[in-house]
C-alpha cells in the first residue's frame, strides 16, 4: 500500500524551496526567489506555511539598510523531506 505523500511538501513551490534549503546551509529570500522564479508574494506565503509547520526558520534583519530575510531548514524539515523522497520513490518504484 502506498504511503500518503506529505501534503505540505507535495506542492511545487514549497517542494522547490525545501529542495534548495536541503542543499545549502542557509539562503536569502532573494536567492530562493531567483532559483524558483516565483513572485515575491507567493514565495512569502509558501515560506510562511513552511515556517508554521517548523520545516524552516526565518531570520529577519537588515543589510545596507535593506530588509534581509534568511531561511534555514530545521532538523524536522530535513526529516520530512527525506521521508517525502522515500515515499515518492516507493510511488515511482525507483
Amino acid at each position: 500500500m502506498f504511503k500518503e505523500l506529505d501534503p505540505i511538501l507535495h506542492a511545487q513551490l514549497r517542494l522547490a524551496i525545501m529542495s534548495i534549503l536541503m542543499n545549502v546551509a542557509e539562503a536569502e529570500f532573494t536567492y530562493i526567489k531567483e532559483k524558483t522564479g516565483a513572485t515575491a508574494g507567493n514565495l512569502s506565503v509558501q515560506i510562511d506555511k513552511l515556517k508554521q509547520v517548523e520545516y524552516l526558520t526565518v531570520t529577519k534583519s537588515f543589510k545596507n539598510n535593506y530588509p534581509l530575510t534568511v531561511c534555514k531548514i530545521t532538523p524536522k524539515g530535513r526529516t520530512a523531506f527525506e521521508k517525502y523522497v522515500k515515499d515518492l520513490k516507493s510511488y515511482l518504484k525507483v
Partner: protein, 190 residues
Amino acid sequence: MNEKEALLVIEQMINSTKEDIKDNGFYYYMWGWLVFIAAISNAIILHFNLLEVHSLPWIILMPLGGIITFFVSKREKQPSVKTYVSESMGIVVKAFSISLFIICFAMPLGQQWKAFYPTIMIIYAIWLFVSGGMLKFKPLQYGGILNWLLAIVGFVWASTQIHLLLIAMGVIGGFIIPGHLLKSKTNKSV
C-alpha cells in the same frame, strides 16, 4: 503536481544549487607579496645590520595587509547564499587566523625565535592544503606541500636569515603563484 513532476522539481533545484566556489586569488597574492617583501627586506636589514629594529618591514606591512583586507572585504558583494563549503571555509579561516595570531604574539613574548618562522610555515601549509582542497585547486595544495618541506628545512637549519629566505620561497610557491593563477583562471571564465 504528480509524482514524476515532484521528482523533476527536486532534481532541478538540486542542480541549480550545485556548488561553484570561486576565488579570484586576490588575498593569496596580496598577502603573498607583502610577506615576501617583508621577509626579503628583513633578511637584507639583518645581513647588512642596517637597522636596530630589523623586524620593521613586518611592523609596517602586516598592519597594511590587514587594512587592505578590511576595506576590500567591505567592498565585496556579499553572497545571498551560504553553502556548506563556504561555511566550512569560514571556520577554517577563523582557525587559521587565531593560530597565526597566537604564534605571532605569544612566541615573540617568550623569545621563541628559533622555531618562529618554520611554525608559521606549518600553519600556512595547513591553510593552503585545506583551502586548495575546498576550491579544488591543486596549485594551492602543492604550495602547502612546499611549505611543509621548507618548514622541515627550517626546523633543522636554525638560522633567522635562512628562515626569512625560506618563508619568502614558501610564499612564492604557496601564495603568489597560486594567487595569480587563480586570478587568471577567474579572468578567463568571466
